[in-house]
Amino acid sequence: MSELQADRSSGRVVAGAGQRRSAAGADLLIAAIGFAVLVSLPFLFSSKALVDFVIRCAAYGLFATSLNLLVGYTGLISFGHGMFFGLGAYSFGLLMQRTGLSIPAAFVLTLLISAVAGLVIGAICVRLKEIYFAFVTLAFQMLIHSVILSWQPLTGGDQGLRGGIPRPVFLGIDLGNQLHLYIASCALLVVGLLLMRQIAQSPFGYTLRMVRDNATRASFIGINVWRVKLAVFVLAGMFASVGGVIMSLFVSGAYPEFAYWTISGEGIFINMLGGVTTFIGPMVGTVLLLILNDTATRLTEHYGIILGVVILFFALGLRKGLMDFVVEWYAERRDKASTRETST
């Protein structure tokens, strides 16, 4: 993982300790503003497609950002993160269809299910290193996908959960109404991002980085590496499952594709696109990928070539994600400006 570290070292703007003290407050403020802007969008633009777009951004954004907790912060390259996306969608969908639970109850239960699944699978996976961790998570994902396909009476097999997801009104919120769903998705997104940001900035977040940088040394300052990896695996899985819940509400169903490896692949792609060294990178990547995907499928049926070329541009041209690039560029400019100031 030497390259990720090298990229990281060159780019990030280092905040002083004093600045960081107020960081939590600043995050809260940014989150509040972000939420306000998102909520006002449908009232400013009467575009239903924009509403759909933001809901999808919320689903994929939570998923991709949670993956970055693993990939970027902890150095755990998971190829199976999509299993939690699928698990979230299926658990929530099934709970709503089969039990008479209210939406908040089903949501909490879904989080619990993902946490338990993450605990069991993570306990096995996080022992392995690097590429083998990647493969074993991929194997688990495919295993879950196979189970979804095979367990037809419960999951509906390849046809997915059909018949729509019932959405009883709770606390005056009617998720059957697209605008309500939109606001709920935005709220989940903002709260989710805020929580993940807090995790990243907490002592635990620094532990993650220590484990990524030098797991051996970390264990000799008292960090139980296995437990830290497992904890972040479970947490990331829970956030990913929230993404799945939003997606299941958006399409009003759950499909085996949600648990297929391609979802994990897209998550990694989003991270590379947006950059893994900034917290907001995956979110930027999500917006980029969705715009790219939506535009490319509108333009041509050979969108594979377009997408491929764009990926190559990022991988071989920029050699880093967009946000990494922006941050570096900004840092360089600031350095230049400061040298100019000192010289005059």
């Binding site: 633009f45 396909l149 715009i291």
Partner: protein, 424 residues
């Protein structure tokens, strides 16, 4: 207003430039391409379908089927006087993309109705969009019976214009039972793809085979995965069981792979084979060493029904697209014919009004068993289309004799089936 030749790409030019120019300029400006544009006089019909990946043929031949009829219709003045503009998008076979595209087609592109060219899981996702948006939706590719048969699935604004597994199975069961009795085929094996369509049609076929020939026994079942490249283990397993006859719901490339590989084991000399999806030009023209005498249901065959209209339609399609139509082509073409007839009856191209007149509507159609097909009112699905079984030969006309299925019998048994499923 010009008529889009293929996918409505020229229109997209403006949108593309706008979108590209605004990419990366922040969330506020990103919203701009979605700002609704003024409604043109043309009626836009959106079509999510699968244009990439292994079943790209599903989408391309569906689109061809639609376009050949749309062009005719536009030349004749359009849908209730309004020219049709098709907007076809690739869902890559992913249900969430199908749902997303369907929503976008309606919400952004201003499509007033949807022709859903998705395979079954995608069509269930599109059904939910139609339920949510209330837009007129015609499913043209999904053969999964529950889509329309199950009253929980049904909505007033969605229709299916495609053959159904249950119909095929009743006709096939009847046909196969006759041969089983004549040739004394008692031990049967099945080999179908392991997904909803494969499982359902196989179960239904077996039900009706046993209904008509009660002493038949299924001694082996194999369920290869959809798109499995290698069937060796499946073939040897079937051979182990030594059945007298084999039923398969494999289709497309999977079916041709299976045949090529089964040929190596001389499977077709050891048992009678009933492959419901064999008599489709995509498979018939591709298999190089087609064994003689495979029993198959009709998919699309220009010689059945043996009418001049059908033959002419098949030839016109081939002349235009340099290949024979597929099963999906006729289903999509029929959808346009139905919409046209409904628009004439309603005197309008408005989706709501069309949805009111479509139930029970009968339309003249080259693919009808009696020259017409009907959109059955009770469950919004077409009936009366040409359905039959015959045996294949390796050269044109591929299926020289097709024994037509009996729709009266199909209706009777279908009604019983619905009752047993709790649908009626």
């Amino acid at each position: 207003m010009t008529i889009e030749s293929k996918t409505g790409e020229s229109k997209m030019g403006i949108n593309r430039r706008a979108t590209l120019a605004l990419m990366g300029a922040g969330a506020m400006t990103v919203a701009a391409p979605w700002v609704a544009r003024a409604q043109a006089k043309a009626i836009k019909i959106g079509m999510p379908t699968i244009l990439s990946g292994r079943v790209a043929q599903l989408g391309t031949s569906s689109r061809n089927g639609v376009m050949i009829e749309v062009e005719k219709l536009n030349a004749a003045g359009g849908l209730a006087g309004r020219p049709i503009e098709m907007v076809v998008r690739d869902s890559k076979g992913q249900p969430q993309e199908a749902a997303r595209i369907a929503r976008e087609l309606v919400n952004t592109d201003g499509c007033e109705m949807i022709i859903d060219g998705e395979a079954s899981s995608g069509s269930f996702a599109v059904q939910e969009v139609a339920r949510d948006l209330g837009v007129l939706c015609v499913h043209t590719c999904s053969e999964a019976s529950s889509l329309t048969a199950d009253p929980k699935q049904r909505i007033p604004n969605a229709f299916r214009c495609a053959r159904q597994g249950i119909h095929d199975s009743i006709a096939g069961g009847n046909y196969a039972a006759a041969i089983a009795k004549a040739k004394g085929l008692k031990k049967w094996a099945t080999c179908s793809p392991d997904y909803a369509y494969g499982r359902d049609t196989t179960a239904e076929f077996v039900t009706y085979l046993k209904h008509f020939a009660p002493d038949v026994e299924i001694i082996s079942e194999t369920w290869p995965k959809l798109f499995q490249p290698d069937y060796t283990e499946v073939i040897t397993r079937i051979l182990q069981a030594k059945p007298q006859a084999l039923y398969s719901a494999l289709w497309g490339g999977d079916l041709t792979s299976f045949i090529d590989q089964a040929n190596l084991y001389a499977m077709f000399t050891q048992m009678e084979v009933f492959a419901v999806n064999m008599a489709d030009y995509t498979a018939l023209t591709v298999v190089k060493n087609l064994p003689k005498g495979i029993h198959s249901g009709n998919r699309y065959i220009k010689t059945f029904p043996a009418t001049a209209e059908n033959a002419a339609w098949g030839d016109a399609y081939k002349a235009k697209y340099k290949e024979y139509p597929t099963n999906w082509s006729w289903q999509n073409a029929t959808a346009i014919m139905l919409l046209n007839e409904a628009a004439k009856k309603a005197g309008s191209a408005d989706g709501k009004k069309l949805a009111e007149v479509l139930p029970g509507l009968t339309v003249k159609c080259p693919f009808g068993a009696d020259g017409t097909v009907t959109m059955r009112a009770e469950d919004h699905t077409i009936v009366g289309y040409a359905i039959g079984w015959g045996t294949t030969i390796p050269t044109e006309p591929y299926v020289p004799e097709v024994k037509a299925g009996d729709w009266k019998q199909i209706f009777e048994l279908e009604a019983q089936w619905k009752k047993s499923k709790g649908y009626a």
